[in-house]
Amino acid sequence: MPLDVTSRLQEAEGNAPVSTRVQKASVPLYANRIKVYPKAVTGKFRTIKWVILTVCLSVYYLVPWLRWDRGPGQPDQAVLIDMPGRRAYFFAIEIWPHEIYFLAGLLILGAVSLFLVTSLLGRVWCGYACPQTVWTDLFMLVERWIEGDRNARMKLDQQPLSWSKAAKKVAKHAAWLVIAAGTGGAWVFYFTDAPTAFANIFTGQASVTVYFFVGLFTTTTYLLAGWAREQVCTYMCPWPRFQAAMLDEHSLVVTYEKWRGEPRGKHKAGTSWDGRGDCIDCRQCVAVCPTGIDIRDGQQLECIGCGLCIDACNAVMEKIGRPQDLIRFDTLLNQQARARGEPARYKLLRPRTILYALLLATIVTVMLVAFLLRPTVEVSVLRDRAPLFVTLSDGAIRNGYTLKILNKTNADRTYTLSLTGVPSAKVNVIRAGDESADEPVVLSAKADSVATYRIYVTAPAHAIEAESTPLVFTLRDRDGKGSAEYHSVFLGPER
């Protein structure tokens, strides 16, 4: 899909030929946007698009309101990213900050899924599920309700300012802003308790952070879906630029059957179709295109693969009694085959799709295994650095450690601590009222929290043979529900 620079320059100069250097220099660096007025259309792909739009928006707006009982003292929101509490909740799953690699895994999963889907079905993400597409579609719907369809909107924009024009414009932007604010508001609900935040936002009691992010996402939604629209896809988004690497001649793309459409031209009812193409040049495919391109020019960077032109063309084909699917989702190879009169063949298994599928399966497996094997208790040990070690009056050496127990279960737990590596080492836990060195050392951690203990390990002088001796802390759940280990060292004087 090469971008034809010369033709664009010509376009910018009103199709005048580029003849001299001086003329070239006066071409602006950035072409002005030609405003797109997409026409309403009905059909198979428009229906699919409406369904996906409804599902996506419903999921986005409703999910924060789902409740999930996690017991007392725990948030009851099904999906919640609790930044101050440093937890992420997803139904029964609870993610701690150090498990953020699951997020990285999800992002990689999303990327590879996108690669696979794109190599099979083309730009269906762009055309149907991308938030930019979904919200732009919603904004266009509102625009159509208020200002009318394509022709009415074009006429309105050319009219001088009047009370009715101003009223329509104000109504449109107000409606857009309301939707945008709803979008920004719903975003915030994923990071804080939704019902509380909802009430707080309207009573002015929410935090500055909440208002900031509501404002930020209101602004971006309003600007991107209301004003920028197809420019986001054409100029801002990196994905259209590099997805060409996933597409090949076997991928589904929106195609125009040039071999049967050309030569195009107006057609009078009742006259013969011999010696001419099926395309009657009604330009309906151009009128409905949300990015304002002509699909008959072939593959283009701007095409988001939404298939609305297919719906528009099929409606016309039905009226004039010609075969359907002059514009259709097809592969480039199939188009060549059809042109030769050969049957179309779809090849799903290709090296690239197999590779993407394998990659996807591997990542899913790795993530699933990592998730299922994720420990319910973890321990981390921080050795004191000041003092490095203490010599006691009988020559024994003592090291201090800070022990952190991460109890990821929903119940209070007790553990026994044992040490290996330093012979006859004694453990003292520094805590209120208790300094006994009894065996075994029992430590507890409250449900879903981190317990911190100061621990002193003392070893007789004769037991220490090196400046640094490996020391392993082992924590065992007393009910046999998991254990954790930490490898540290025990330091002594120079030998």
Binding site: R21, V22, A25, D384, R385, A386, P387, L388, V390, T391, L392, S393, D394, G395, R398, G400, N428, I430, R431, A432, G433, R454, Y456
Partner: protein, 289 residues
Amino acid sequence: MPTKVEKDQITGTRTTGHEWDGIKELDTPLPKWWLYVFYATIVWSLGVFILYPSLPTLSTYFPGITGYWSRAELAENLKAQQEIRAPFVKRIQAASLEEIRADPELFDFAVAGGRVIFAENCAACHGAGGAGAKGFPNLADDDWLWGGDLEAIRHTIAHGVRNANAESRNSAMPRFGADGILTPAQIADVAEYVLSLSGTAGDREAAERGAALFSENCASCHGEAGEGNVELGAPRLSDKIWLYGGDKASIVQTITYSRNGTMPAWSERLDEATIKMLTIYVHALGGGK
């Protein structure tokens, strides 16, 4: 140099009018958006001038309409923090050291607060974490000059060592060499004996000679077996811990000139609750008795 303003033929932009060896420079205007942002910052700065302290006068300054002062903000923050801590501090004040030691909440508060207070006031001599240094006792070990139970530690912190405070820990070791009480040879013998108390093998004959001298001159404070005396701050000589060094030269130096380290009385600078928190912290460093 000619300064005739002219238009560049190719771009249509004005030139600066200067020419260097046939090369002219375009006088391209600044981008509009940049210029407007720049003007906006000027307007913004006027607002800042009016709202915040800005212009100096001869003796003071114009404080701005808001009268903002970062120190006042800090003071407010400190006050807010103190209000949060107040209930705990009150409880610490009312409780005995043993009660604080036994109450998990107060104990954690005292240790956390004590750590900060220690770093601010004590670590300069005693080292981070009470690691100590030559002449400054290690507070994390189990050897105490003036006693290592809660009350003894509190007393030492509150009243200090060998200072003008009425309840200061006080004692003085004589300068056995400098004041001519013992001869250098006798001091060497005593030093050998002191070394033998902690099991360090040396000159056995000299140590035997030193034993009698030790019993005569040192045992009244340090004990017959060198077990020390916390009443007098006399260090235990029979252990592995040496405040001023455990080699023979250091011991000879100590006997000849004596040491007599000092410490300020912290009750003159810190309040009671703070000293209690420090006590709990030092006691929990590992050596508390």
